[in-house]
Subunit: 539 residues, 2 copies
């Protein structure tokens, strides 16, 4: 027997309608090349409808893919709404991808139009000749004097904008595709994750929960994470839904510029990768941040020392979150449960160094890779982490079969190895592909990196496996020191010897100027492995 409730689809248009009605005077502030733009949510809705009308008038297919190549701006948020509310699919292009990879994703998605920020035109123009599916390039003026490419496809927003599309009821099925984001987190070509209106709506809704971001209309959010990253971790949609103001950094992504925005806009919540918070740390002293209540950090594990440094400097530790493009991306958030209120600060910091708790809508399990049996939540047993829920991918775009990552019984295999505590705190031990297997024993490079980064002189550390004649593989540490610090290999090993089992110590250490990063800012272990492919470990 079916219930007798309204058949009301969970769509992105419903988010926009609400914001327009209830939160019309909330604002989005954008740092542009030349200054600042502040628009209301009422104006955002108009701009989103203008985006829709432009796509209609250009004749973009009813379910066509539309790329965005932009900074974090109000215009980009207008695309987040305007494209899917017309039934089309927003493809957020990663501006840091290698040219061949970017061209691959645009062509694979068959993007018909791309919206580009003018200050990114010099970069985008390099790709443009290869983008054969793209019929229209619409340029948003952001104050940059960059010249327009000499290509008939290139149009200026000011020249094409006019009417507003009527979104009413365009998307009736909440399972309609809304956006696509390509993940580079796996081997081979980037793979497309195709979000639906339903998954986006539910993912946005959960960010209001106290256990996640606790977003509400009292907030002003600063999404530092680029908007081409997994829908910028849900913030653009969730803020518009919750009525939270948005402070968009535009091209100004230096720690100092971001701190200026945080002070001026009284930012209450922000989100980005560890590198950002590490770079901001030396600049925190003397800044006026009394409104800041949650600094979300994801993309890579947050070293305990980094979170503690924030806590001791401004009284606010970092809130770790874990996710994947395939998870929309939210998987877990590390908020402290009431049962842990009496822990010491150091014990609390240990809990904060885990990936945290899954919100309602994300189910987790850990699986023994050999037996495929589920393992207990005792904080000891480690197994491959699998997840399921309404905002988790079931297949990549344009693949005939779900593939290995999407196992038969409806769970996504994350490729991460994890332990889970009795309270539900998930601790990433490693990527399945990023463990060091030494003489039959697994060594967690993540744990070792955390220990190395616990040394006061160390800024960053990445551990990779190198071949070893006797142990098959041994850990090798790549270390970046903080400016002005010095540290020898022996000093580091002595430091580690008190914290790590003898057999888990790195066999050798390389001191580098920087750890190479991927296009999404993660440590590129692939590059390190290539760089040190011929390195001989000492006997």
């Amino acid at each position: 027997m079916l219930g007798l409730m309204q058949d009301f689809p969970l769509t992105i248009e419903a988010i926009l309608r609400r914001s327009e009605r209830i939160f019309s005077s909330k604002t989005i502030t954008t740092q542009t090349v030349t200054g600042q733009e502040r628009i209301t949510f009422a104006a955002l809705a108009i701009r989103a409808r203008q985006v829709g009308a432009v796509l209609d008038s250009l004749g973009v297919s009813a379910d066509g893919r539309v790329g965005s190549f932009g900074w974090n701006t109000a215009n980009h948020i207008a695309l987040y709404f305007g494209v899917p509310c017309t039934g089309r699919v927003l493809h957020t292009l990663n501006i840091r991808l290698f040219p061949e990879q970017l061209a691959y994703t645009v062509t694979h998605a068959e993007d018909e139009a791309v919206f580009v920020d003018r200050s990114l035109l010099p970069l985008f123009a390099q790709y443009l000749p290869q983008l054969s599916t793209v019929k229209h390039v619409i340029v948003f003026d952001d104050g940059s004097p960059a010249p327009l490419p000499d290509d008939p496809r290139v149009l200026r927003w000011e020249d094409v904008v006019g009417d507003q599309a009527d979104f009413t009821g365009r998307v009736r099925d909440e399972n309609t595709a809304a956006a696509i984001c390509y993940t580079t987190g796996t081997t081979g070509n980037p793979k497309g994750v195709l979000y639906s209106h339903r998954s986006t709506y539910l993912h946005s809704l959960i960010l209001q929960a106290p256990a996640t971001f606790a977003l509400s209309e009292v907030d002003t959010a600063l999404p530092v994470v680029p908007m081409f990253h997994a829908m910028a971790w849900g913030l653009p949609y969730a803020c518009v839904m919750a009525g939270a103001n948005l402070a968009m950094p535009g091209p100004g992504m230096t720690p100092a510029a971001l701190l200026d925005v945080m002070e001026r806009e009284r930012v209450t919540i922000t989100a980005g990768v560890p590198t950002i918070w590490m770079g901001m740390l030396p600049l925190l002293e003397g800044r006026e941040l009394p409104h800041l209540r949650r600094v979300i950090c994801g993309g890579s594990a947050v070293p305990k020392s980094l979170s503690e440094a924030w806590r001791t400097t401004i009284g606010l530790p970092i809130t770790q979150a874990w996710g994947m493009t395939e998870l929309s991306p939210l998987g877990t958030v590390c908020t402290l449960r009431s049962e842990l209120a009496d822990l010491s600060e150091d014990e609390k910091a240990d809990v904060r160094s885990t990936a945290g708790l899954p919100p309602m809508g994300v189910e987790m399990r850990i699986i023994d890779p050999e037996t495929r049996e589920e393992l207990p939540w005792d904080n000891e047993a480690t197994g491959e982490l699998e997840t399921r829920g309404p905002w988790i991918a079931r297949q990549y775009y344009r693949t005939d079969e779900p593939g290995e990552q999407f196992s038969a019984d409806g769970w996504l295999r994350t490729g991460d190895v994890a332990a889970i505590s009795g309270l539900g705190y998930m601790r990433l031990v490693n990527r399945t592909k990023d463990l060091v297997k030494s003489g039959g024993e697994w060594i967690s490079s993540v744990d070792l990196e955390n220990e190395i980064m616990g040394h006061p002189a160390v800024a960053e550390a990445a551990v990779i496996a190198l071949p070893h004649p006797r142990w098959m593989e041994r850990p090798f540490a790549c270390v970046v020191l903080k400016q002005g610090e010095s540290l020898s290999k022996d000093e580091l090993l002595s430091f580690l010897a008190e914290r790590v089992e003898r057999w888990g110590l790195p066999d050798d250490v390389a001191f580098l100027d920087e750890i190479p990063k991927t296009s999404v800012g993660k440590f590129s272990k692939k590059t390190l492995r290539e760089k040190f492919a011929d390195r001989q470990l000492p006997d």
Copy 2:
């Protein structure tokens, strides 16, 4: 084009699974006739599965309706989960209904089994002979010595409980019916609102939003509102989802007993009708309630003076909410927006005396009843309030057609007249339908008029609501006698006492020469309300 997200149904089982995994040590405390019972969420899940197994073993149909006739207890929560997780439909029976109405709802829903608290058996036994669809009555021992009725259908829970049902995947379609609740808020027979798993899941989810109840695992909730009222305003499901402890009052519903629970269990959030909070007010002084953060009040409008008296006594005003059985029931919650932070206390109290803001998932509009045009949100224009959203009814159970209340374009006509401010605060002005709301219960003035007009000496009767210090509203009867007849107030009340429940009798009677009429010859209740605006009801 459809998205490629997991087809993960939003079911009540998903709520239970989560609570069992993440919140197994959270607790439900129940005040029983003889003492207190405290169980964990882990034990709740077991009990819910036992409910399922009992229904299976008794042979209740796969989608059969199962009644509950009980206080607010952990057992009742086990029914909230155990019945729908097996695919069956929970019917929460209103223990205060007239016998014929109760029998009507049980028979209309075709309840096959009913779970009854032993202390309610003396009441329930009166109805039992009329309940021809009911094959099994399962009695929960709550410490009461009430005798078991001599009826072969009556079973003791202790005698039938045993196995645990496996819920896994029993409900695959989230639109499956989960529960039915009959509303007496309209004229005529009670009407059944059939909730689905999806509507229940989404309604529970929104109660975590800061703008609604901000429920999280730090909370302990005390649902004072009876669990047969519109799924007890969402608290049982939402608390189990969010990991909030529950403090269940059982039969002890006096203000003093409730305050004892609030102190002892450190209750942070509670919900009930104005009469409760009015009765509690004189007892607040000297109580230790530092944990209390939100007192939700619904069912009738909250007088400004009541909310202000709470604020001046314990520093916490009452949070008004508005809903209907047809809305699962949440329609609006009156939390103060950040834009209003600088208002004076008196101005804030004025805002708090409105019904408040709709959460994500509830859309509102006000309609001119003549032109059917939408009216502006200017806090002045008043029109009929209509709502739509995923937890709003589209039709009553076992009706061939949606009916007048469910207008053609997908909005529910609430029967309330309202104005809405620019910020979205909804203010109820009047009801289109003619009902008296006494202590949270509807009294139909039409039904009462019919009974009065059933007296041989009465020519005409019109019943209006007058304000009452304790019950918020009480019925007041205006009566015109037939020529040459005489009748006293006491004679009329004696006549009615045989036909109407005690609490449904009018508090006072005025004998008039005629009932004022509108231009189309209908009773002008507006004129009567004006005429008796200053009339004091007798104590």
